[in-house]
Symmetry: C3
Subunit: 134 residues, 3 copies
């Protein structure tokens, strides 16, 4: 199964918990593994408590390791200054596997699934949800 989202880019962080949960519910899987991913080299998927303060805090942390500036070899060669976006994606990875139990994703009370679009422009993104029953 898959669904699409529109992003603003520039490390836009979007809560996709409801969309993924619906797909798991509709699949009628009692027990299994759910792999959430998005094809692309400038995005990431993780879990976080989706709260405005933490969203800012996460962006600040990413700024330490891969700052959003033009000082990247990738920018010099390709003129496309989204080098930071590629590095953030390589570090965070656009893949996440979550267990399913009793027909539901096993997440903590405050734990949301977040899609991160690091690219330097708005994008249409496709999210894939692959479910393995056990």
């Amino acid at each position: 199964m898959k669904f699409k989202i529109s992003t603003k880019g520039f490390t836009d962080i979007i809560d996709i918990t409801d969309e993924v949960s619906k797909i798991v519910r509709d699949s009628k899987t009692k027990e299994g593994i759910c792999l959430i991913s998005s094809p692309g080299s400038t995005c990431g998927i993780t879990t976080i408590e989706y709260e405005a303060g933490l969203i800012k805090d996460l962006k600040r942390a990413l700024e330490i390791v891969a700052p959003m500036n033009e000082d990247y070899e990738h920018c010099k060669k390709w003129g496309d200054c989204n080098g930071y976006a590629h590095i953030r994606s390589a570090l965070l990875k656009p893949f996440l596997a979550i267990p399913i139990e009793d027909g539901k994703l096993v997440l903590g009370q405050w734990q949301n699934i977040a899609f991160l679009d690091f690219d330097n422009r708005p994008r249409e993104r496709e999210i894939l949800v692959k479910i393995v029953k056990v």
Copy 2:
């Protein structure tokens, strides 16, 4: 399958290789995938050579990207100063998939499975082990 551990919080790093290996052995799975996870937004799971020096080194690295202080937007809003714990969890993720071959987890000789509790208090944590046979 699942098991519980008690942690001290504050980036307590605990070796859970034996517990996970036992579950894999008891499942009598010859070949497959093992997904290890813990519901929560302030913990992480990874592999590391579990050695006192490296445990300190890992804590120092996490301190660079998400220092354990109160300078987080999350802290300003919620008064709960575990903002660093949420950010460390979002970066490291509390999910890990390891292959199973010949009835055993495929790990290197010095590679242990580590649970990291970033929260700012001792916690009881539940670790889920979901096995897919192939």
Copy 3:
């Protein structure tokens, strides 16, 4: 399935997309999940646009969080100064799960699978590819 590669160590970053894709193709899996991993505590696996500029940029980012020097507790104790390699591996993890659809890995147009050897010497590495059909 598995295959071997020779690396130069010192954060040698190698494109393994073709090898993994061939294994997926040969498995004749239409739909499923592919887990790519390597046993070891000084390596990592992720996806990145495999381009010389970005390879340099990724190395620079890793240098921020786990610099390649001898200032590690692991080095003091063991005399083996690959502490940085262990920390990079614990942060990036040598495991990656990618969905399979229509008989192929679902990757973006510029998204390659990269194996990273952080160790401080050349190594022979074994890459495992475990496929679950759904």
